[in-house]
Subunit: 138 residues, 3 copies
């Protein structure tokens, strides 16, 4: 009845990272003992995002190329002029993909497809310790 | 109080399909008799996605063209090298659009705008029976 | 236990607007007195969307440019042929970004990052009074 809050932490690199966090999320859901409900995932920070994908190294590279087309790293970003941290592209990419993901829990399990994994997209240009908020509601 | 779980199944074609599923979702919400809460929709499978749109045939075509620009079907995809199923573009498109959608329920109804419909985006290059998980929480 | 429903209204301009609505959402969450749960935000209407971003004027301009690349205003849209309202690009942009956003509430606060704000993206080509549905679940 009450929401159950947990957190996942992931250490990232300075490049664009795509991490499979399905195991971590599944473990939190399992430990919550919620049988029927939903989990809200939210990445705190403005240069990260969440989505699902078939986590296969080819697809992961293909997605990175698509991201490069949508918000290239090497074009002019006004943000960089102001802050000088060079991660204007990171912010734009994160805003396109979105920080939240919501997945039903049925019979104690996430309703993911067989080849569907939950991924953290980390777009920042420096390594970080990412925090993913996990809110489990039944 | 308890979450109410339902499923919607949609048969797709081998091309990129955009299906209006508003009626199906509204029916599930109505039958659940939830007056005030929210519905979580989640497409199980890594080549499908969900969003909302004005479901008008012109807009639907316009969206398909935008998808083609973001992740063209006829460029090189590393996924295709490995698996030979030719649907690398499908995976990339699905990851961009996202598998989950969350809509409030107020007075027993979805809070959609007048011209706003819920759509399933099916990007796979073969026909499938798609499963959409519907979790209704009050 | 019961969901708490609220609404936020924002007056938009005829151009593409990006509004920081963090303060409005935080106020609704505070007034709800929910300590542990989640808020579902949903923009009613098919030419608006929601995401999070570092709301800094440089990043906001950078995001607008990325949106222009993904769904330019000045290309051909079939929707415009049929309806003559010239906002085909608005519908496509909204469908790409998505109408819903879900954020956990922990200790009575949204789990946003320090530099992460909630934004309404209004893509319509005429000024509107936008309605954002706020459903708070504990």
């Amino acid at each position: 009845m009450a929401s159950k809050h947990r957190q996942i932490f992931i250490n990232t690199t300075s490049g664009t990272d795509i991490f499979d966090i399905t195991r971590e999320v599944s473990r939190e859901v399992g430990e919550s003992q919620v049988v029927n409900g939903a989990v809200t995932l939210f990445v705190s920070g403005s240069t990260g995002a969440l989505t699902t994908i078939e986590f296969e190294s080819g697809v992961v590279k293909d997605l990175k190329k698509a991201i490069d087309r949508m918000a290239p790293e090497d074009i002019y970003y006004e943000h960089n002029e102001r802050w000088g941290d060079g991660n204007g592209y990171s912010h734009v990419r994160a805003a396109i993909f979105g920080a939240s993901l919501h997945i039903p829990i049925v019979d104690g399990r996430l309703t993911l497809g067989t080849w569907q994994q939950i991924v953290l997209l980390d777009f920042d240009n420096r390594s970080r310790k990412r925090r993913i908020e996990v809110q489990i509601i039944e």
